[in-house]
């Protein structure tokens, strides 16, 4: 008998299989009335609630009118931190922006100083950013840089973790889906919190609104 059969036989001997339909219904019922067991949002508006949570975790957040204002905001951030050069995620929404004046590149060095990425969603409940792997979304972009700058479109903000779960399961699940909740950190030495363990020590989030700029 294979290990698989040994294990499944032992499992089924202890807990006989139920009707698949009934099991699915019971699983769905376990998620009824989600409000009764999740925390309220930190503020009534999604961007405000998200910002309160993310900043409490040590991220910095700024809001700009629209995507076109992103390069300017990034330039200010780089200058503030004395950074030159920026690795930009090869996502069309970012590469299509006007990067005049900033030395951008698309590769990632092992000790990349700063990188710019695009979040797929933001989750207001926890101040989390969602990134998915894909052809134009290297996962290491969120982990190698010391400064991780992320563009979050206000229209992609979701209230709760369950709302993201529903989005994830409705689409085809990517190889890697990550909820990023604050900059990297550790409490492994005497329980004291230190920022920037293996991942980014700085997380800067630029929330873009939908205002059109008059051309």
């Amino acid at each position: 008998m294979t290990a698989r059969d040994t294990i499944l036989n032992a499992v089924l001997a202890a807990c006989p299989a139920g009707d698949a339909r009934a099991v699915a219904d019971a699983a769905a019922a376990l998620l009824d009335d989600p409000d009764s067991s999740r925390p309220p949002l930190a503020a009534p508006g999604l961007p405000e609630a998200f910002t309160l949570k993310a900043t409490a975790l040590g991220a910095s957040v700024e809001r700009v009118a629209n995507m076109a204002s992103v390069p300017e905001a990034v330039a200010r951030y780089l200058e503030r931190h004395g950074l030159v050069g920026l690795s930009v995620q090869p996502a069309p929404a970012l590469t299509a922006l006007d990067w005049t004046g900033i030395a951008t590149h698309d590769h990632l060095a092992a000790d990349e100083p700063a990188a710019l990425g695009l979040a797929l969603y933001g989750i207001a409940e926890s101040g989390s950013l969602v990134v998915h792997s894909g052809p134009d979304a290297p996962i290491l972009l969120s982990f190698l840089p010391l400064h991780h700058i992320v563009v979050l479109r206000e229209s992609t903000l979701l209230p709760w973790l369950e709302d993201y779960a529903a989005r994830l399961e409705a689409a085809s699940v990517p190889r890697n889906a990550i909820l990023i909740t604050g900059p990297s950190g550790t409490t492994d030495i005497e329980g004291s919190y230190v920022r920037g363990a293996h991942g980014p020590g700085f997380l800067h989030i630029i929330i873009t609104g939908t205002d059109d700029i008059p051309e």
């Binding site: 499992v11 990023i180 550790t186």
Partner: protein
Amino acid sequence: MNVALPPFKERARAALADRTLKLAIDRTTGTAEAKRAAAVAAFPEFDAARARGRAIKDHVIANLGHYLEMFERNATASGAHVHWAVDDAEARAIVTRLCLDAKAKVVTRSKSMLGEEIGLPHALADAGIERVETDLAEHIIQLAGETPSHIIWPAMHRTREQVAELFNASHQPPPEADDPATMVQSARRVLREKFLGADVGISGANFLVADTGATCTVTNEGNAELTTTPPRVHIVTAGIEKIVPSTAHAMALLRILVRSATGGELTQYTTFHCGPKRPGDADGPEEMHIVLVDNGRTKMLAGEFREMLRCIRCGACMNHCVVYRQIGGHAYGGTYPGPMGSVLTPVLDGLAAARDLPNACTMNGRCAEVCPVGIPIPTLLRAWRRRSWRERLEPGALRAGIGLWAQVAYRPALYRLASRIGVRALRAFGRDGWIGSLPLAGGWTAYRDLPRPSGRTFMEQYRDQQKGRK
């Protein structure tokens, strides 16, 4: 896993005598306890969330076969290879063979207690493969040649000063100062070089999502992604009880897991891995393997320890345990320390080897109070004590003593007579209202004094009082 350790009592005595250890334990568990309390206070729905978490785990356990098959089907469809291991030896052999097949010279590992449970560190060393622990705490204990002393903070038995000594001896160049921030930077620099050159990355899983076939891992440092993304092969080892029906069920459990573990709302990184690199993907491993491990879990499912399968490994029970906080994790001698370890170690290492653990408990119930999935740990520990008695594992003198006591206790008149003599005799050893030493009871009185009894038994006083009422 633990060969030739001294008996539990000796280990506990040594731990109690180690003042530095006590300092280190207090620093981490104290912070953890305070942060959890704050997180729970800020989440009025916590009890409802706990009830939901418990119901989800019970539902999965009752339908485990259904969900395991569903997970296997979906993980396979995503391109992952699913392997099954009946015990630790089989799991070690599968992982080692996968590493050798990949011609791995260097393997990076992201913290996984299951990896410790199945003895992976030794197995990789025996196969001649260089293992790089990437979690900061695991890095510390790898340098020290130790095992984890806590399931969330594996290096919590080491003070900052002791960590500095280790880093000074092994980091090139050594860290410039011994504050945690500087030492973390030093580890970041040293390990960064290792991540990108590894052939295989091994991680664990907090959840296995049945309806997508994804594995879910929570970390704070970012080392998990750096471990699982660059190498050509990614291996996940996970216990079969880690299944959840869907991503939404995982989210419900994450809310209580992280608050109970660190007092945070979510860890910095919550990662779902689903199969190997897709065509066109910018990065990711070419192969993904998932090893599903039983190692005693189906035995628990069939018996009186089924409820323990709800455990989501948050560590709250040890942070709040008066015994753990005195002796730390290593004294327990198993892979899993503290209250949850005292239930699990007899399953994993056998009751004969671990029968002291269920007895090293005051039954104060703090663990069950804080457990996010409502595991009645004291009840389960009592079940081990009963079984230990049934299987006659207690030393002869203890069995004889308890047997004698039972004979007396079965006869109320005799029992009352014996206690009348007893309390009067005890009075004779009292000084200034306290008993500081007693013949044959040195093990007890060495650490504590007893109040000198009043000289009359409860029954005598009760009878007098009843008479007075009439």
